[in-house]
């Protein structure tokens, strides 16, 4: 019987009925402390430290603080120190402050060659779906599950349903992977993929770089999806090859990976078709990622929304965002611009942003910052001179971390500040209490920083 890529990976990992084996467990400081404590209380060990890797990313400052004990915020310091202590006690490798391999967990996994096709990957972080870009089954888990995987290297799981989102047509200039996924979530809603492992397919996906595929898979969770996946191909293999964690016998590995693709005629529980050529640069206007419009649109009128739950949500969102229905999106003035986070902080994103702002200056009214996804991305960008271009234009250039995506560190919005952000969540208070977030692509964020408001990147000179 023909199988989907998801089915092939799931079936190869089922240790017992409903119990799957985990090939890679990524760990960070926010969701692991209680899990390690649970192991200690029960006298349990980490079963496979050699399949586990930790890093500090969520609450670290991005000012170059070189060691955990120098973190100014006491609770953050204690949390990162606890991570280092726990990893030392249980033999888990950790890249903490001071390591040139540290970075956002979903950036360093692929970067180190740890994220590989055909594997199962979990992390106590919802954006673990990112790794599915390599043809892996990757999903976020809670702290109890983190403890479970640490102790057993397995996870009891209900088998999700499968969905295939097939894109057709050619992506137009100025339309980025971020716009593809924002438009998709806008259509399906924040609950549209609940219960599904989603395979993204079609030529507009196949022609994306690995960075672009990661952007798409990353935001699967914003549509409620359990996991997002893209079939591995030569682009994938070329990305993995030569990285520190890549398989020793690479050719043999590739041979196996070539068999992962969904078989002809395999059945999905749900299929969605999307015309990529009809997608424009997107901007969110509300407090959930599905509240999104094209940049040339206006702030929507809640009265025009039929479903009462959605209408009420829109009314609350507009009140929080301090937006009037009918306002052109391009006339919304901005205070801050943030380029970073696990969805858009890789070298390709920074190259796009730098190219857009080269020789220009950030608007007087805007404070703009760029936060590379990892120390390696930072080093690569600096070797290419991207930092100089961005600094000259008036951007702050920071060290790596989750930064202002979630405001658990000193990078936050002040009450009432409005931000164009390349991150993945525009929830109330996400970037700082009272902060107002508009999600956009790196290209759109860069242009908005220069102009002080959103612009249609396709028209921008």
């Amino acid at each position: 019987m023909p199988k989907t890529m998801f089915d092939k990976i799931w079936d190869a990992h089922e240790v017992a009925d409903g119990l799957i084996y985990i090939d890679l467990h990524l760990v960070h400081e926010i969701t692991s402390a209680q899990a390690f404590e649970g192991l200690r209380l029960e006298g349990r060990q980490v079963r496979r430290p050699d399949k586990t890797l930790a890093t500090a990313d969520h609450n670290v400052p991005t000012d170059g603080t070189p060691a955990a004990h120098l973190i100014a915020d006491e609770m953050s310091r204690k949390q990162v120190e606890a991570l280092e202590r726990n990893c030392a006690q249980f033999g888990v490798p950790v890249y903490s402050l001071g390591s040139n391999r540290r970075g956002i967990v979903h950036v360093i996994g692929p970067e180190l060659g740890l994220t590989q096709p055909g594997t199962t990957i979990v992390c106590g972080d919802s954006h673990t779906s990112t790794h599915g870009a390599f043809g892996a089954l990757a999903f976020g888990i809670g702290t109890s599950e983190v403890e479970h995987v640490l102790a057993t290297q397995c996870l009891p799981q209900r088998r999700p349903k499968t969905m295939r989102i097939e894109y057709a047509g050619e992506r137009r200039p100025g339309v980025t992977p971020k716009d593809l996924i924002l438009a998709t979530i806008g259509r399906l809603g924040t609950h549209g993929m609940i219960g599904y492992a989603v395979e993204y397919a079609g030529e507009p996906i196949q022609t994306l770089s690995m960075e672009g595929r990661m952007t798409v898979c990353n935001m699967t969770i914003e549509g409620g999806g359990r996991a997002g996946m893209v079939a591995p191909d030569d682009t994938t293999f070329a990305y993995v090859e030569g990285r520190p964690g890549a398989p020793e016998d690479f050719d043999k590995a590739v041979e196996g990976w070539r068999g992962l693709n969904t078989d002809e005629g395999a059945e999905f529980h749900s299929r969605v078709e999307i015309d990529a050529s009809a997608i424009s640069p997107m901007v969110t206007w509300g407090t959930q990622p599905a509240q999104v419009v094209e940049v040339t649109d206006r702030v929507p009128d809640p009265d025009a929304i039929d479903a009462s739950a959605d209408r009420e949500a829109a009314e609350r969102a507009l009140a929080y965002m301090a937006l009037e229905p009918g306002t052109p999106m391009t006339e919304i003035p901005l205070d801050r611009v943030f380029i970073g986070s696990c969805v858009n902080s890789r070298i390709e994103d920074l190259r796009e942003a730098a190219a857009a702002v080269e020789g220009r200056t950030v608007a007087d009214t805007v404070r703009a910052m760029v936060v590379p996804g990892s120390e390696q991305v930072r080093a690569d960008a600096e070797a290419e001179g991207l930092d100089e271009i961005l600094r000259s234009a008036g951007f702050e250039w920071r060290t790596s971390g989750c930064s202002m995506c979630l405001g658990m560190n000193p990078d936050v919005l002040a009450d009432g500040e409005r931000c164009a952000s390349t991150s993945n969540r525009n929830y109330e208070g996400r970037q700082g209490k009272g902060g107002r977030t508009h999600l956009v692509s790196p290209l759109m964020a860069a242009a908005a920083a220069i102009e002080g408001h959103f612009v249609d990147i396709r028209e921008w000179q």
Binding site: A16, S76, Q116, T119, G142, H148, T152, G195, Y427
Partner: protein, 187 residues
């Protein structure tokens, strides 16, 4: 985990869809290293600003896609710490639902119509074993995975259950099943 049997009493209603875990427990409370003490921070900003009021009842009832967003189990710890023993909604975000079942906060999925009727009733009796919710308007059944139900009814340590399958895990590893993926200790 405490075993779950019958949960009975008043219902606190939050009539909103797509409530994300950032609202349930804001980020500033995620730096604690314990599993306890999160109840007082539940819906911190919404309650402090007076935007919502929430009574302490055994049952919480809310809108579709509850608990979307971040995987933070702290959200479940906060709801449980506040005093809720069961949550009724038309749908839950996947990770949130699983997190609930790990700590013994019973998630109950019912369609919108029944949710509204139960909210109006103001009180209910949820029987985890029978998989029923009884209220003044009638009795409705809900679904739950049989293994999850068994574990919740008996308050079983799930890791302990998996460790009993040691032979199968060991066999899987020694027969090449664990050969995929990187060796993180050899980078």
């Amino acid at each position: 985990m405490r075993p779950i049997d019958v949960i009975e009493g008043g219902i606190s209603v939050l009539d909103r869809a797509d409530v994300d875990t950032d609202q349930i427990i804001p980020k500033q409370f995620l730096k604690r290293l314990e599993r306890t003490g999160f109840g007082e921070f539940l819906f911190y900003d919404w309650i402090r600003s007076g935007e919502i009021e929430l009574e302490r009842n055994p049952i919480f009832l809310t809108g579709r896609n509850f608990g979307c967003g971040s995987s933070r189990e702290h959200a479940v710890w906060a709801l449980q710490g506040f005093g809720f023993e069961a949550i009724v909604a038309p749908s839950f975000a996947d990770i949130f639902y699983v997190n609930c079942t790990k700590v013994g906060l019973l998630p109950v999925v019912l369609d919108e119509r029944h949710c509204t009727a139960i909210a109006d009733a103001g009180e209910a009796r949820i029987d985890a074993d029978d998989q029923t919710v009884s209220f003044s308007g009638g009795v409705v059944e809900f679904e739950i995975d049989p293994d999850v139900k068994h574990r919740l009814l008996h308050g079983l340590d799930e890791i302990g259950l998996t460790l009993r399958k040691e032979a199968a895990i060991g066999e899987f590893e020694s027969s090449g099943g664990a050969d995929r993926g990187p060796v993180t200790t050899a980078l």
